[in-house]
């Protein structure tokens, strides 16, 4: 398989691990805390046992990079209401079992709600064309990587004059989350392993203002084991040389400027807004919504959806996990009442979730 085996070579990994050990022994004193912001990194770190290869003074913590996990329960509640109102809800599969404050979309579906799982947002467009009498609502959650594909269907719907399609939006942007994490005095992060495919859209240069402000090394790495090890080595090199810059180690995919076509589409249809992150609260300018001229495609406006404030607090500590304050085993429910087949919180639902990755790969 092209572009795969080359990035999983065990000999190269062994060299990288010994280089990592050498550099980390030079950095004496405190623990080095590296946050991987992307859920796919979290999964890969678990799957390839990368945590176990590192020295004790390096701590890999998972950030808020799983789109399902950071979606607020109030959003799920509102989506459930839309389903109960008889609309056709189209969604990526991993949203199905995310608990809202009282129920989940899976429960509504088993009670007869019309919910279709989509591999691509284009599937929602097909439903809308096939069933002109139905209102089709796509659950638009996700980061920059997902935003561009999702709003492409709005662009196509406008061109084809399809009017029974709308997006219920909870888009999130990664750079504002980095600022929020770096400004939180309770979270000490020495470096960010930046997401691979979010960066493909926004470009490596998008992190420069952040690094200038916070002087925290940002290294963009791919998802293969050698990519991640080399990314960690790059981070340690910056720390040992007391430097902080943006290093793009995934330049086989990520360019300095990113995917301009996707960026232009986003600029044309969307504008920034504040967004609520599960566990992190509202982060200014960290969301995107359709511009007012496209409000007929915005489910929230089209159906006057009210997003209620969170009602009851659950025992789930996802919020703390997402900020890297605790590790999943520190949650009293972890692997006890909360498991992937019976998840209490979203971090256990999504395969990219930190709790689910720990459950699968790092249980003692």
């Amino acid at each position: 398989m092209k572009y795969i085996d080359e990035f999983r070579n065990p000999d190269a990994a062994a060299t990288l691990v010994s280089q990592i050990k050498n550099i980390s022994s030079e950095i004496s004193g405190k623990k080095i805390r590296i946050m991987e912001v992307c859920g796919s990194h979290t999964m890969a770190i678990g799957r390839y046992g990368i945590r176990q290869l590192l020295t004790e003074n390096i701590e890999l913590i998972s950030g808020p990079g799983c789109p399902v996990c950071v979606t607020a329960p109030s959003y799920i509640d509102a989506a459930i209401k839309l389903a109960k109102a008889g609309h056709l809800i189209c969604t990526f599969g991993d949203m199905l079992n995310v608990p809202g404050s009282e129920s989940s979309l899976a429960a509504v579906r088993s009670e007869g709600g019309h919910i279709e799982l989509c591999y691509s947002p284009l599937n929602a467009l097909e439903f809308a064309e096939k069933m002109p009498e139905k209102e089709v609502i796509f659950l638009g959650t996700g980061f920059e990587t997902t935003i561009a594909p999702v709003i492409s269907i709005v662009d196509i719907a406008i061109k084809k004059n399809i009017r029974n399609l709308s997006i219920f939006i909870a888009f999130k942007l990664i750079p504002p989350a980095l600022y929020a994490l770096a400004s939180d005095p309770e979270i000490e992060i020495d470096a960010f392993l930046c997401p691979a495919h979010v960066s493909a859209i926004i470009g490596a240069d998008a992190y420069i203002p952040f690094v200038k402000k916070h002087h925290i090394p940002c290294v963009i790495a791919g998802f293969e084991p050698l990519d991640i090890l080399f990314g960690i080595e790059g981070i340690l090199r910056q720390i040992s040389e007391k430097k902080a810059f943006v290093e793009n180690q995934y330049d086989r995919i990520v360019s300095a400027g990113g995917n301009l076509k996707a960026q232009m589409l986003m600029e044309r249809l969307l504008e920034k807004t504040d967004a609520e992150w599960r566990g992190m609260g509202t982060i200014p300018g960290s969301g995107m919504k359709l511009k007012d001229e496209f409000k007929n495609y915005d489910a929230q406006k089209k159906f006057s959806v009210r997003i209620e404030a969170e009602k009851k607090s659950s025992a789930c500590l996802c919020g703390e996990v997402l900020k890297g304050k605790i590790k999943p085993p520190d949650c009293p429910l972890f692997a006890k009442s909360c498991t992937p087949s019976n998840p209490v919180g979203p971090c256990m639902v999504s395969s990219e979730g930190t709790c689910s990755a720990w459950y699968k790969y790092s249980r003692p």
Binding site: D11, A12, T15, S152, R252
Partner: protein, 78 residues
């Protein structure tokens, strides 16, 4: 949802969709977020859309670097 592995473009249609291949299996994806994709290119697909091409030169350089790192380990083991 996020397929982290590059897929090869086999067929491109007029409507901007394409058939991609990975490990013998074929997939459909939209190319509307990219310009100038050709048959034989490798792309990264997310949620049914190709979001970026694999840049050949950079990929080759990285593969070369990792080969050299593997050599170091082999020599150390001798």
């Amino acid at each position: 949802m996020c397929l982290a592995v590059p897929m090869r473009v086999c067929e491109i249609y007029d409507d901007g969709s394409a058939v991609l291949e990975l490990d013998g299996a074929s997939y459909k994806a939209s190319l509307c977020l990219l310009d100038d994709v050709k048959r034989g290119d490798f792309v990264i697909v997310h949620a049914g859309f190709a979001i970026e091409k694999v840049h050949q030169k950079e990929a080759d350089e990285r593969i070369q670097l990792f080969r050299e790192l593997a050599e170091i380990q082999k020599e150390n083991n001798l």
